[in-house]
Symmetry: C2
Subunit: 221 residues, 2 copies
């Protein structure tokens, strides 16, 4: 939002273009370094050096390192939130749309493999993500939980807790993306291979579909 505002009010003036470029250089540099070194490991000095700006640029453009991190995550998460919302609003039963949400995650993480690491390293460290990120995560959570409720209504999804269902669904692509480097070490699943990625997508779709579809009889435990 602040990015749009900045664009609208400053776009015609050359100096603002420079500012906009610096801002986007800092986001790109922050994304690289937060991804490689973690939030704590990426200093403002290293980020501004990487972006080719002066040391004060983070403060000038974002206010703080924490707010730059928020901007990096926002840039990464906003498109996936939009993909999820689009999948949730698409045609078909709620279960079909839920599976499209899963595909949206796979597609997005394939293009942006750094994203789950960027977000989850802070979540795993028990830290609270910046407000703009919480707002995006909340909208995603609500879109998917809403599909569970719609699915019970249209008969494509069995009854259950909407938010816990959303977590079960999202955990699949996120966890898989997180442990991909570890898996390569443990063998024999190498998710950097396109064929294995496709296999993992098909596996996940089948698991989620079966996990959510209404029972056809009582299933004894």
């Amino acid at each position: 939002m602040s990015q749009n505002r900045r664009r609208r009010s400053h776009a015609p003036r050359p100096r603002a273009d420079v500012g906009e470029e610096t801002r986007s250089d800092l986001i790109a540099a922050g994304r690289r370094l937060f991804g490689q070194r973690g939030y704590d490991g990426a200093s403002v000095r290293a980020i501004t050096h990487e972006a080719g700006t002066n040391l004060g640029a983070v403060t000038y453009h974002f206010g703080s390192k924490r707010e730059l991190y928020g901007a990096v995550l926002e840039q990464g998460l906003r498109p996936i939130a939009e993909r999820v919302q689009a999948a949730a609003r698409s045609e078909g039963t709620a279960l079909e749309r839920m599976l499209r949400v899963v595909e949206a995650y796979f597609t997005h993480f394939e293009a942006h493999p750094d994203l789950p690491h960027l977000l989850m390293q802070e979540v795993a460290a028990g830290k609270r993500p910046p407000p703009v990120v919480l707002e995006i995560l909340k909208s995603v959570k609500e879109a998917i939980a809403g599909l569970q409720v719609e699915g019970v209504a249209d008969g494509s999804v069995r009854p259950g807790h909407p938010v816990l269902t959303a977590l079960s669904v999202v955990s699949q692509p996120v966890y898989l993306a997180l442990v991909a480097p570890l898996l390569r070490t443990l063998g024999p699943v190498d998710l950097s291979q396109p064929a294995t990625r496709e296999l993992s997508l098909q596996h996940t779709l089948a698991f989620v579909r079966a996990g959510l579809a209404p029972a056809r009889s009582d299933s004894p435990r």
Copy 2:
């Protein structure tokens, strides 16, 4: 293994008891600080101060901070690996045993809520865990993948990729434990409440059971 050797050869002598106590104080201090501050954020100075030992004690007892981290994770993960192995070898169909594996994770994480964070903050940062940890993770992965194969044989689990199935199952308790603090912020699911934890266990068991059970008819997508 080195712990056993140390115990066997030194146990009768008082000085070794002191050494053993220092070692275990360092592991406890490391676990607290790695959990609170992350691996990079917890300095050797802070850990030895917390443990009440001299600054050289980490090097003396473990060789390096990295090896102390390995010992912390080993202490945390070994018991869960044993629980998983026990569940995998218990009575019943492979699917029933798989669900006991899920329960084992819930039970263990409830008693040790720091554990998923301790491990996953490094995994999420794309770092390779210490060798002893890789060995434990590999044994767990193989036990669960083995259940998938046994389940296809005994008819309780539908055909699928064993390792990807193991990941789908493990992702449920691990992801839930990881995002619990975030969930509390986003509302309205507070997994620190016993009733909500029980609800999340029942939800997860139902999701995994449905996700793995053989299809009773073709399920159109």
